[in-house]
Amino acid sequence: MTEKIAFERPKPLADRATHYCPGCSHGIVHRLVAETLQDMDLVENTIAVSAIGCSVFLYNYIMVDTVEAPHGRAPAVATGVKRARPDRFVFTYQGDGDLASIGMAEIMHCANRGERVSVVFVNNTIYGMTGGQMAPTTLVGQKTTTCPSGRCRDSEGMPIRMAEIIASLGGTAYASRVAVDTIKHLNQAKKALRKAFEVQVNGLGFGFVEFLATCPTNWKMSSIDANKRIAEEMIPYFPLGDFKDVTTGKGVC
């Protein structure tokens, strides 16, 4: 009988403490990204584009060449990067305020042009970094600091389902929604991430993965309760699955 390492910190993940709150999903998604880069041997060929949000310090944790984009503009910055260096692997890492609110035009057009970039989208239904304001993804009824009596469908609209919208655009090769709340979902998430990276590497088009994630701090919940909320409240509104996959023909019209 020998012993093998069944799990250890992936190498591209810096060996340091993060600034994230206890239980915050960003750490999990970072790990998945780092592992996938490592698995696909992309680390030394990658240029990452970090966005503004709690994950702005992405570059302190995932050790790849990185440029910081202004809030919401990571897909435009990534377009510039990829056009400048078409042979490099390029991904953005964005929150829901960043991507679905201020950055809506940039993500739509980046996807539609079919830029060969991959987008890691962390949807925690809130503006984390700025202290818990309403996001376009905030669920109806969810209380935030700018919708203190809960998001009201009538005046603030419905949460936006980005993965579905992105899937409907011509340049998208792969669009999926995953969650980080259970081991099963984590395994699915990793597969989805790999696919989103692969479509870029294979020149097929734009890859997009939406992660349903927690923000225990601004949800004012324990990590455990926050984690449960993913299954109880988020997945019913934000269904998991692949919405487009050119490699299987799904969602392609």
């Binding site: 009988m1 012993e3 390492i5 999990i28 081991i183 324990s222």
Partner: protein
């Protein structure tokens, strides 16, 4: 027996690992690390129940946990994925 090792200084006590362990062997330790977080442990004597499934490690947002799995020689850790062979430390 498989086993897990916690990098105590990184643990933030979020308890997510405690929820996914199929053996339910991870729990709060009563100890506090220098960051000021109450951290988790595998209670003394319970480690032998560990299956090395790595669920705890996978859900940990802070990459606190390293998982060592005891395998018969040549058996891959996960199907298709060769595990890195290391010195056998424990039982």
């Amino acid at each position: 027996m498989s086993r897990v090792v916690f990098l105590k200084e990184r643990c933030k006590g979020c308890l997510l690992c405690t929820q996914v362990c199929p053996k339910g062997i991870i729990a709060l330790s009563g100890e506090m690390n220098q960051q000021g977080y109450k951290i988790v442990e595998v209670a003394p004597g319970k480690m032998e129940q560990c299956t090395g499934c790595a669920s705890c490690a996978m859900i940990c947002p802070d990459t606190v946990i390293t998982v060592y799995k005891t395998v018969k020689p040549g058996q891959p850790v996960k199907p298709g994925e060769p595990g890195e062979e290391v010195a056998r430390v424990n039982g």
